[in-house]
Amino acid sequence: MKVSDKLKKRLLLALLLSAAWDCSPVAAREQKTLTLTTAATRAGDTYIDSSATTSNFGTATNLNVAGKNSGANPVRALIQFDLTSLPSIGVKQAKINLFVSSINKAGFIYEAHLLTSLWTESGATWANRLATTAWATAGGVYNATASSSLTPNNTTDVGIYHAWDITADAQSWYSGTQNFGHLFLQNQTHGNDATGININSREAATNNPQIALTFLQQISSLNAAAGNGSVALSWTNPTPISGSTVLEAYTGVLILRQQDKAVAAASVPADGTTYSQCSTIGSNNDVVVFVSTSSATTFTDSGVCGGLTNDHLYFYKVFALDAATNYSTECGTATSGTGACSANGSAIVPEVTAVPSATAPYHAAWVFNTLAGSLSSPGVDPGASVVTASNALMFDLNPQTGAPVAPPIGIGGAVAGRPVLIDGPDDSIGHNVAYVPAQDNFVYAANTDTGSLDWVVNPSSVPFVASAGIQAKLFSGASYILAQDLVVVGTHNAGSTSANQIFGLNGNSGATVWTFTGGGLNPSLDIISSAPSVDYVHGAIWVTSRSNGGTSQPSLWKLNPNTGVVLFSAKLGPIDYSPTLSPQSDVLFVSVNGGALTAIDPVTGSTLGSINPGDGGVKNSPAVATASMPYTVVLTTNSQVWSYQFSCLTNPCLPGGGTFTKFWGGTAINNPSAPLTYSGLTKVYVGGGDGKIHELDLATGVDGKQRLLNTSVTVGDVGIDTVLSLALASASDGRCYAFAIPF
């Protein structure tokens, strides 16, 4: 069989471009090799030695991998690469290339395994994954099935790079799995090998570890504009990343559409297949409405392939396409078996929604799939950053486009609350940071500029469910004597109704500044489910908790931020919601689970007044819409939204001297979220159990306009980017949505 000249050139090119020889086909647009250097912040390499179980080798220039004494004393290498420069790609192939400087014996198998626990280069030992935290199993926690393996020859394979194929693992890092890197071990079935192989580490002078990725970038800046019976889409096609090798040219896009529900994450156009307009893909029958091979950047759907029906929701997902008919999915060419697309094969492909209408068309500003429906609200740094946590991943998004600015940040446990963001000029750590407590008993501080972790600490042996409260030193008065910002977190020890804890952590280092433990000589402390509130005026931290089912123990706590000493506590009944301070800090509004909204004097702790509108009692934190007394307070119950005016006969307000006067209510909304409004805003935003964000008129309570996120989903608490005028919310379909406000 004669090989064509064209194919010969192609094969030669592929050989020259590959860091290590490989016979498998490569057909995709870009290839980039990233070298692991000491400059990479979201990465690391080390080795761990069963003969030196507490020794860390994070600064070693060689990584040893061996099964000494017939496997009785193994040595393993850990390597994690920084993929920050490739935030949004469909991976087609990924290989770890390691420079092997010595090989003791031939015939031994060296395997790469996906690590499944977070570790650090400076903390990892045979015994520990972090400085003071042990692996669940000594020697590393990883998938037992090797991702790939090699059997190098000890004479001919020394002093060259060797490649381990980790394609499926790299694809999973972009579709829902944390990236904790790989563990390399010697398969221990071949007898004794005293020294195994040595690999150049990132600290070596030359020939550092590399990862070679072949991929398609996603399209960006996807916009929809809904009209009467039409939806106009626009986007920006990818341009090659600096330093990448172009294998195939981007030629256009393929667009899938679905009505009244999302395009399925498992709906993936198969590489190598050309689709015709109006064909369908996947069991969800997602419709191919547009295929372009001429680098189009717009498409107006005026009703192709069965037409658009006004006032219905349409999802559009836009895949980048190259000259070899590869699509920007997280899968290879096979439709089943090895290389088949995972269930999330198209999960991070950009998508957007629109509702065409003759009278009131609208569209989402952006949509981002967080891959889990945890309903954790996005944290917003207005105009600068959106960070949303979902399950065990944290996503750093461009607030204008919703595009990820870094690959997902792996967290060791699930995150249930809103990440708390502080920007560099305002915090003590000196750069933009997000603080995230997690259910693996750890608290994380992530640099949202780089996606790297500033610190990870383990103050507790039980989970954190609630978001953190942050006291910024910059905004604190003279009574705040700590040198750095304070991060306050409370535990969810479901096994105890009395001995939960509250920790004050150093915002720069994570070190524990103080601890309050319930029980013993202290009042009993049940689980904490909501973020503490910082009272800058009175120099206090307010925390709410459950109370063992009744009013026999406290559920509202006032703590000294410098010491953690309890200044005051109140037995109001179980509370799962954060307290809301009035803008003047003269009233603290607290929602008791299924009970009354209670106004508390933040100085004395006395109850000023309370209101229970019925409908099963209050739920969620209230919102305060006016800057000073009398306060307009918006609250929600099981299926309604209410507004009350809170006022006092005297100044200061005396115990029992506060009065709630109903403004309006209850406006019917199925299973409402916490209301969002604030001084200067004339609207109230509420997420519903009906899949919508509702925009209520603050003056009348009229539910005037809504935005449908998705059908049959529950919408979480709403956040607002005041700079970009966007309302943001997560939904139980796992997506984060942004809509322009006012609706």
Binding site: G139, V141, N143, A144, Q439, I527, I528, D576, G689, S712
Partner: protein
């Protein structure tokens, strides 16, 4: 393990090897607030604290393993995943019980009454092994 050597033959000899015991597991669910772990698949959001998931494994090969639980919402979307490593002595088949817990009380599950039929999907080393459905009942 079977070692095969020698030359190819026209009439192959059938080698009957003992079949490895099949990997198996069973899931027990309970409310952490209940005394002991009373296995059930119906829970009340009004009283539940944590969902405790006990996975009883059988015939797990020796070595290091990672169990992953994916807890799916009634709409089939992942709500949360929980990974845990465990070890089985080399050259043995292990029958460990791996216990994980998912907070329920005070989370969005109770705050937003995410009731309905949920699913726990159990994977070992990246491969799905089985699942268990359970019911969360609204207040």
């Amino acid at each position: 393990m079977i070692a095969i050597g020698g030359c190819a033959m026209n009439s192959p000899i059938m080698i009957v090897a003992p079949q490895p015991a099949p990997l198996a597991m069973a899931v027990r669910l309970c409310d952490s607030a209940a005394l002991g772990c009373v296995n059930t698949t119906n829970f009340s959001l009004a009283s539940m604290r944590d969902l405790t998931v006990n996975v009883d494994w059988q015939n797990v090969p020796g070595g290091t393993h990672t169990q992953q639980l994916a807890v799916l919402l009634p709409n089939g979307v992942v709500y949360q995943t929980i990974s845990q490593g465990f070890g089985v002595p080399e050259s043995t088949l292990g029958s460990p019980t791996v216990i994980d817990a998912m907070p329920v009380a005070g989370t969005f599950i109770t705050q937003r009454q995410l009731a309905g039929e949920w699913t726990v999907q159990v994977s070992l080393d990246g491969a799905v092994v089985g699942l268990q459905k359970f019911q969360l009942e609204a207040n």
